[in-house]
């Protein structure tokens, strides 16, 4: 079985990271600035930072658990 197919499953709990990351990015950025453009620019940047960080963590854990 392809291990990556686990990630592709729609029921995989990891997908719930995305809406949480969107919410956290928008709310955190909105609490930093007032201007609409600044909020959105920072939120997009933060969203990708969170997502990439979580993906790196996922990869590290996936490698560590390989053939377990």
């Amino acid at each position: 079985m392809n291990h990556w197919s686990l990630l592709a499953e729609s029921e995989n709990i990891l997908w719930y990271i995305l809406p949480i990351a969107v919410g956290v990015s928008l709310v955190y950025s909105a609490s930093r600035y007032e201007e609409k453009e600044s909020i959105l620019r920072r939120a997009i940047k933060l969203f990708f930072q969170i997502t990439i960080f979580m993906f790196v963590v996922f990869c590290v854990l996936w490698i560590l658990s390989f053939r377990l």
Partner: protein, 333 residues
């Protein structure tokens, strides 16, 4: 593209009122201050995260105290036939889930900043733990309600039956041979036929207020009509009104059922509500004191050098005269 024009002042109006409104409804303080865009962000993001989590967790995620597993209040042991420990445990379980407060549930404090749910939960918690919220017993008086359930019985010839029953259940308290007991009947339909079941003695029914959508009922049946003697049990689930289950703290059995049904999604649902609650702290503080870093993101050096060439000296002087941070009026001290 950001510009270097003077940063507009933000009118926070009354910051305390704004913070209070932000606690009651995410983004409420910002709508009060006229900061609609941010109000919409807070309202949509925080509320949808919270509601999504609650929906995954069957609306039973908010509780200040972990529910105790069994009854542990001062039980009057004389009311039990205490043959051995197992028998006592069985009789305690028949009393239904415990409604005593256990350990503090720390996740509650992360949900606390969302007043829209926490305030109703606080009211429901008071109703749930109220001494009046008791299972129906001879002490709680008479009972008259439409129910739907099933009747299992053995007739006087030893035949076993199990039939559905829908009808009006009436129970009242009478002095019996061994003290006060509940006596009554259920009159209604069973498989399209009229049925009249006489009930007496052992009655178990969940309290009026509880986290489940229904109350379990179990009562002994002694006769069909006036004459046919039976030995049976009527079991039914009575619907609770929304007011009697919505945001009521779950008992131990309900929580165990949720864990069994949802698995790791139960924790995920809790995390959604915790994240939403903690995010509302940021929203409340923003309503109270304004944005943390300033009106807009700082301009990059490259951008600013380009803009400086096109800006007049007057505009530059105006931008320097305005502070980069604290772009608020009525800022709390």
């Amino acid at each position: 593209m950001s510009d270097s024009s003077p940063e507009p002042k933000i009118d926070l109006k009354n910051p305390i009122v704004a913070a209070l409104l932000g606690f009651l409804v995410p983004g409420g303080g910002h709508f009060y201050q006229g900061r609609t865009f941010k109000g919409v962000i807070y309202l949509v993001c925080i509320l949808s995260l919270f509601i999504w989590g609650m929906q995954i967790g069957h609306w039973q995620l908010i509780y200040r105290y972990e529910p105790n597993k069994t009854f542990d209040f001062d039980v009057d042991s004389s009311q039990f036939e205490m043959f051995d420990e197992n028998d006592l445990r069985r009789q305690l379980e028949e009393l239904g889930p415990s409604r005593t407060r256990g350990r503090t549930h720390w996740g509650y404090f992360a949900q606390l900043p969302v007043g829209l749910f926490i305030i109703p939960e606080y009211i429901q918690e008071g109703r749930y733990y109220s001494p009046d919220n008791l299972p129906v017993t001879p002490e709680s008086g008479s009972f008259d309600e439409q129910v739907s359930g099933s009747l299992e019985y053995v007739n006087d010839e030893g035949k076993e039956f199990r039939v559905p029953v829908t009808g009006q259940l009436k129970l009242s308290v009478q002095e019996g041979e061994f003290g006060r007991e509940m006596v009554g009947s259920i009159t209604g339909q069973s498989d399209g036929e009229e049925i009249d079941v006489r009930l007496r003695g052992d009655v178990r029914m969940d309290p009026p207020v509880g986290a489940k959508h229904y109350r379990n009922l179990r009562v002994n049946a002694i006769a069909l009509g006036e004459s046919e003697i039976i030995d049976g049990v009527l079991t039914a689930q009575l619907d609770r009104s929304v007011f009697n289950w919505f945001l009521v703290p779950p008992d131990h059995q309900t929580l165990e059922g949720l864990h069994a049904d949802l698995g790791k999604k139960f924790t995920l649902a809790e995390v959604f509500t915790w994240v939403a609650g903690l995010l509302n702290v940021l929203a409340i503080w923003d309503a109270y004191a304004g944005p943390a870093y300033g009106y807009r993101m700082p301009i990059r050096k490259k951008d600013s050098s380009e803009e400086e060439e096109s800006e007049s000296e007057e505009e530059a002087a105006a931008s320097e005269s305005e502070p980069a941070k604290s772009p608020t009026e009525n800022q709390p001290t």
